[in-house]
């Protein structure tokens, strides 16, 4: 309104004349003071830059003279070009969200929607605000309490003074809320399209990458053919096993050249209706990853993930209904959180029901879900019917649900899952502190075929290893599981407490209790969890130190009949463990902050072994544009062994610097060194002590707010201890010795169009020396050429990555 008034007053004040910013080509040609050549140049320039900021810009155009300028000053107008509908700050946040990956996927899309159509802050409750990025339970409850006691706010900045709301929480909240009132009668149509081509995830050289699986599969096949496994004395049909492994091997080879695509369309109408579709194909997608198994069309083999949803907002007691794919994350994620990823040591989680167009597959829910609100009762109800992948026994029966990147035909979609349940919360904010609530929930999972976790189908018979994996023995069997949950939470001033407990129908329990205290300078979070060995809920994503199958036989594919079954290690479910976790952040002064310090002591309930992990990070900021961070990590972990338990002690030192040396440049450097000390064991040989480290640099130059180029380079060397590094859009695995560099260009062309290009080259070297062997029957040789011996060579793997992302909005 204010802008309109200003514009109207400006228009009234200026003399009549042609606005050349909005003039057509013909109108410019008809101007007496311009030649036709000048009109062409001026028209093209205005089209290119979106409009003149002032008339004096024309003096830089070819063919324009001071006389031309003077004539234009007297005879035309330069009215301001229309301002973008989306502020640059919102585009910055979108840019940051575009880099997010993993479990936040679903929420990221929801947040993107909120950036364009913010949440009406005067109507929100604590559960609405808990769905926002890095807004804590206390932050959410504080705002809810302020609104209930003092009434609506006239501007979002009024929330800044809310008691017990941290500035950090306010800052993360302000872009997603506004004081607008929703207009449910509106049918304004809006939407977006995102295309991604991604060949950067196909770094096949890692142990659990494609080449690693190909290598393991080849070895297994050779081993069986050469009689290395004494299968004749067992019930395993060696011919059947080889046929399966050869089929999987062929699928792995075919997958080597498959790159990833993703198309995502989302649309909306007003504040009430939303819809979306995603079609995608994963990098290194296997034959079993067809969109619809068995359908013979080119499109079916081109895509391996299809998702869609339609959602309906706010009508009576119905807050939201989602039909199609949805994601649900409630309480502390012990009963229901259907992400495909379990984040280690994550105390922050988003709450709520959101449509799901993410890359998650194995835990995707497809059906319908509703969020209902009646008085003080908040309820969620959901149902789903979807195919699921599973490791299969040789007779074809499903052995165990698995979530793997590589999906052979033998594993993919072997059963269907029917899931339904609900969670209801009673809000006690009217007579207890706002945020207080209790809840009960239930979850029922039914499978079309009985799960039959049989060791005989996995363990290589008569090998030197004895099967010992209690975590596997606790995997569910049969065709049905039921879970009941209870939850409670409260907030008092700047303190909060939450508890959730779930009981499985086999009598096993899991529980987690979390308490926090926060202010602007200090926060402390403590969490106690206890997940029984027999407790196995595929939708459990609660706080955890380890995945269920970390440090088990499933990390050793050479000990499995089918090496691809090792992907069970990726199952995103917490390990049976009991532990106490403490985490704090403390800002000592403007210059010194302990950014994250935590201590986790936990017991692995599979073996009752004690473990400890500590990490401390301190930041020193001598002047505003320069920061130094020093991080130390220590982990002491016991692994069960038959005779003497082994022990590993890991230490890691990281020094990072961030600086803004010039106005439009950002520079960072990271140096890391780590070492692992293992219990002496003949199997480890000289590798009792392992180490590794890297040096990584990043530099980003911003040409303009719309265009920036980021370059990064890393050098690393390892001696048995591989390293993980955060790249700009994900985590990279560093092994051997090597170098890499990448360049990313980010370009916002307009409100409607954003582009990102990334190019990466990674060189990894594995020296292999001293291969001379005196025994002529035990030599290294080339593939298919046993007589050609190899005594010394260097293994050099070159990976290229190209990623292209295009976002269109309307």
């Amino acid at each position: 309104m204010l802008f309109s008034l200003l514009l109207a007053s400006m228009l009234a004040a200026v003399p009549p004349g042609l606005d050349i910013n909005s003039a057509s080509y013909e109108e410019l040609v008809d101007l007496e003071g311009l030649t036709s050549e000048q009109a062409v140049v001026l028209y093209n320039y205005i089209q290119g830059v979106g409009g003149l900021e002032n008339i004096y810009e024309v003096v830089d155009l070819p063919g324009f003279t001071p006389v031309t300028l003077e004539w234009l000053k007297q005879n035309v107008l330069v009215l301001p070009a229309p301002q973008p509908e989306i502020s640059p700050r919102i585009l910055d946040v979108m840019e940051r969200l575009a880099q997010e990956d993993g479990p936040g996927d679903a929420a990221v899309e929801y947040w993107e929607d909120l950036l364009l159509r913010p949440m009406p802050v005067n109507r929100v409750s604590w559960w609405d605000l808990r769905s926002l990025d890095r807004v804590s339970f206390i932050d959410a409850a504080s705002v809810d309490s302020r609104l209930r006691t003092l009434g609506p706010v006239s501007s979002v900045s009024s929330l800044r003074s809310t008691e017990n709301l941290r500035y950090y929480g306010y800052r993360n909240m302000r872009d997603y809320v506004s004081t607008r009132e929703p207009d449910y009668s509106s049918t304004d149509f809006f939407g977006s399209y995102r295309f991604i081509y991604d060949d950067t995830e196909g770094r096949a050289g890692t142990d659990d990458g494609l080449d690693g699986h190909i290598s393991e599969m080849k070895s297994a096949i050779s081993d069986i053919i050469d009689g290395g496994r004494e299968l004749s004395s067992t019930s395993i049909d060696s011919l059947e096993l080889i046929t399966r492994l050869q089929s999987e091997y062929a699928q792995l080879l075919e997958a080597r050249d498959v790159s990833g695509f993703s198309h995502r369309i989302r649309v909306g109408a007003g504040d009430r209706y939303r819809g979306g579709v995603r079609l995608a194909r994963g990098t290194n997608s296997l034959a079993g990853s067809e969109l619809v198994a068995g359908l013979e069309t080119p499109a079916n083999s081109r895509f391996d993930l299809g998702k869609a949803y339609f959602s309906f907002q706010d009508d009576g007691f119905v807050r939201q209904v989602v039909a199609g794919n949805y994601r649900l994350s409630l309480a502390q994620g012990l009963l229901i959180d259907n992400s495909d990823e379990l984040m280690y040591r994550n105390t922050y989680r988003t709450w709520g029901l959101t449509p799901d167009l993410t890359s998650s597959r194995q835990n995707a829910l497809m059906g319908a879900a509703a969020q209902l609100e009646a008085g003080p009762v908040l309820g969620y109800a959901f149902g789903s019917f979807t195919p699921r992948d599973a490791i299969t026994n040789l007779d074809g029966t499903p052995n165990a649900l698995y979530q793997g990147e590589f999906r052979p035909e033998e594993y993919s979609g072997v059963l269907t899952e029917t899931t339904y349940g609900g969670y209801a919360f009673y809000d006690m904010g009217d007579f207890l502190p706002v945020g207080s609530a209790i809840g009960i929930g239930a979850l029922e999972i039914q499978y079309s075929d009985s799960l039959n976790p049989a060791v005989a189908g996995l363990d290589i018979p008569n090998d030197t290893y004895s099967w010992d994996c209690p975590e596997y023995m606790g995997m569910p069997s049969g065709d049905r599981q039921t879970y009941f949950a209870g939850a409670a939470q409260t907030v008092y001033r700047n303190m909060s407490a939450e508890v959730e407990a779930v009981r499985q129908d086999n009598g096993a329990w899991a529980s987690i209790t979390t308490a926090s205290w926060q202010n602007n300078w200090f926060n402390l979070t403590g969490s106690y969890r206890n997940y029984a060995l027999d407790f196995m809920n595929p939708y459990n994503r609660a706080f955890a130190e380890q995945h269920r199958f970390d440090d088990t036989v499933f990390e050793k594919p050479y000990r499995l009949n089918d090496p691809l079954a090792s992907q069970l290690a990726d199952l995103p479910v917490p390990k049976p463990e009991e532990g106490l976790y403490l985490e704090t952040r403390f800002q000592v002064s403007r210059q010194v902050t302990f950014t994250k310090v935590y201590l986790d002591t936990w017991r692995n309930l599979a073996y009752n072994t004690e473990n400890l992990r500590f990490q401390g990070e301190v930041e020193y900021r001598p002047v505003w544009p320069v920061r130094f961070r020093l991080k130390y990590k220590f982990q002491d972990k016991f692994n069960h062994k038959d005779i003497v338990p082994s022990n590993s002690r890991t230490q890691e030192f990281t020094l990072r610097t961030f600086s803004l040396p010039f106005g439009h440049d950002y520079f960072s450097l990271e140096l890391r060194y780590g070492n692992v000390e293992l219990t002496p064991n003949p199997l480890y040989g000289d590798d009792r002590n392992m180490c590794g480290g890297f040096l990584a640099t990043r530099w980003e130059h911003q040409f303009t707010p719309e265009l920036s180029v980021l370059g990064g380079s890393t050098f690393w060397t390892t001696n048995g201890m591989s390293q993980w590094e955060f790249e700009d859009t994900g985590i990279d695995f560093l092994d051997g010795d090597g170098t890499k560099f990448y360049v990313t260009m980010k370009n916002t062309l307009s409100d409607n169009l954003q582009l990102r290009f990334k190019f990466l080259r990674k060189d990894t070297f594995f020296p292999h020396n001293g291969f001379y062997r005196p025994d002529p029957d035990d030599q290294y040789h080339y593939q298919g050429d046993p007589d050609e011996t190899v005594t010394d060579f260097g293994d050099h793997i070159t990976d290229y990555g190209i990623r292209c992302q295009l976002d269109i909005r309307w």
Partner: protein, 390 residues
């Protein structure tokens, strides 16, 4: 790829796992160097060379005469590795087996256009496909004693002599038509020289003549800041000949589309994209089904005028192979441009990595029967172009 790619199908008999150049040829620079830096988006390019491909786009050329010329150098690196196994069949690692590096200066194209009012014409020559590839290796026995030497060299070029015309109907709509005569030769020379004089050394030389025509038509619609064009091209009368033997090649129609979007910002940004699809499943050589699948490709790129006036470009291209998905090709491109009065100088760089498996092929190049090799190759191409308007 498209039409000229199909022209090489007669060579499939030699193609058992050989580099793309052996049957499809490496696509040349069909448009300007600027387009080469933006994902090779020829169908969205406004240059004298590109309008030979998309005739209707000539209506957006500047008034008067325009001349454009491009040239390219390409660096091909090919690494072949063999896996090393222990006596139990376990993989120890990969050993580099042979390494070929070739540096090719290649012609690009040259064209002239003339636009007056609502009419525009263009004519020119383009090297639409090239066949530069060389390979050599020394063969050793089990004791690493040299037993022979093998070399393989291919060369050749496929020339496109084309013309086009366009007619503009107001600011909104333009149509165009054109055609090309395509002719060229691909030469192959393979030599196997054994140290042992009793072994049968041999040398093969093979020259293949290719000729044909292409008819093109396209339309262009200008919608405020967006220009959309679409068109078709139909190959006609394609033949290949080797000595006295001759074969007809039946090539399908290719559908193409291009898009230009001028968002209007202080970077004077330009977004371009193009797409093509061809029913190559219908390709026939001497009335026999060539066993190919339908193919398609797209490119996208962006251009920004940086502070100081230099133009920066980046883009991406993906082309599916009509032969095998393993030969699908992606390119990452970037480029710079400078405007000096009425002369435009553009430079583009493209990088394209590809990995494929070489299996036993009768002939070229040889290796131990039953063996299989993983071949990693990359092409880095530098393109330079100049345009001048009179």
């Amino acid at each position: 790829m498209g039409i000229t790619a199909g022209g090489m199908i007669i060579l499939l008999a030699l193609s058992g796992g050989l580099p793309e150049v052996m049957w499809l040829g490496d696509e040349g620079v069909l448009g300007s160097a600027g387009a080469a830096g933006m994902g090779n988006t020829v169908y969205a390019d406004i240059s004298p060379q590109a309008v030979l491909q998309n005739p209707a786009m000539a209506s957006k050329l500047p008034e008067g005469f325009s001349v454009g010329i491009t040239g390219t150098v390409a660096l091909d690196i090919e690494k072949r590795t063999r896996r090393v196994y222990d006596s139990f069949g376990g993989v120890v690692g990969e050993s580099e087996y042979s390494f070929n590096q070739n540096f090719h200066p290649l012609p690009g194209g040259a064209a002239i256009s003339w636009k007056t009012g609502d009419l525009a014409f263009s004519a020119g020559w383009r090297a639409v496909s090239t066949f530069g590839y060389s390979y050599s290796r020394i063969m050793n026995d089990d004791n690493y004693v040299k037993v022979g030497e093998e070399t393989l060299e291919t060369s050749g070029i496929l020339n496109d002599f084309g013309f086009s015309s366009a007619w503009r109907q107001g600011e909104l709509f333009s149509i165009g038509a054109g055609g090309s005569f395509v002719t060229g030769t691909r030469s192959l020379e393979q030599r196997m020289q054994y140290v042992d004089p009793t072994a049968s050394s041999y040398e093969i030389e093979l020259d293949t003549e290719i000729s044909g025509m292409v008819v093109r038509g396209s339309a262009l619609v200008n919608l405020n800041r967006v220009s959309i064009s679409g068109g078709v091209e139909q190959p006609v009368g394609w033949t290949t000949s080797e000595g006295s033997s001759e074969a007809d090649i039946s090539l399908p129609m290719v559908l193409r589309a291009g898009l230009r979007y001028l968002p209007g910002n202080r970077l004077m940004s330009l977004f371009v994209a193009d797409f093509w699809w061809s029913g190559t499943q219908a390709v026939e050589v001497a009335d026999a089904d060539a066993g190919m699948k339908n193919s398609w490709g797209f490119g996208a790129g962006v251009e920004n005028t940086l502070p100081g006036g230099t133009i920066g470009r980046a883009g991406f291209e993906y082309d599916s192979s009509p032969v095998a998905s393993a030969l699908d090709r992606m390119k990452f491109t970037t480029g710079l441009g400078w405007v000096l009065d009425d002369i435009t100088v553009d430079a583009g760089v493209s990088f394209s990595p590809v990995r494929w498996d070489q299996y036993q092929a009768d002939g070229l190049p040889t290796f131990t029967p039953g063996d299989s090799l993983v071949v990693e190759s990359s092409r880095t191409a530098f393109t330079l172009g100049i345009e001048k308007t009179f």
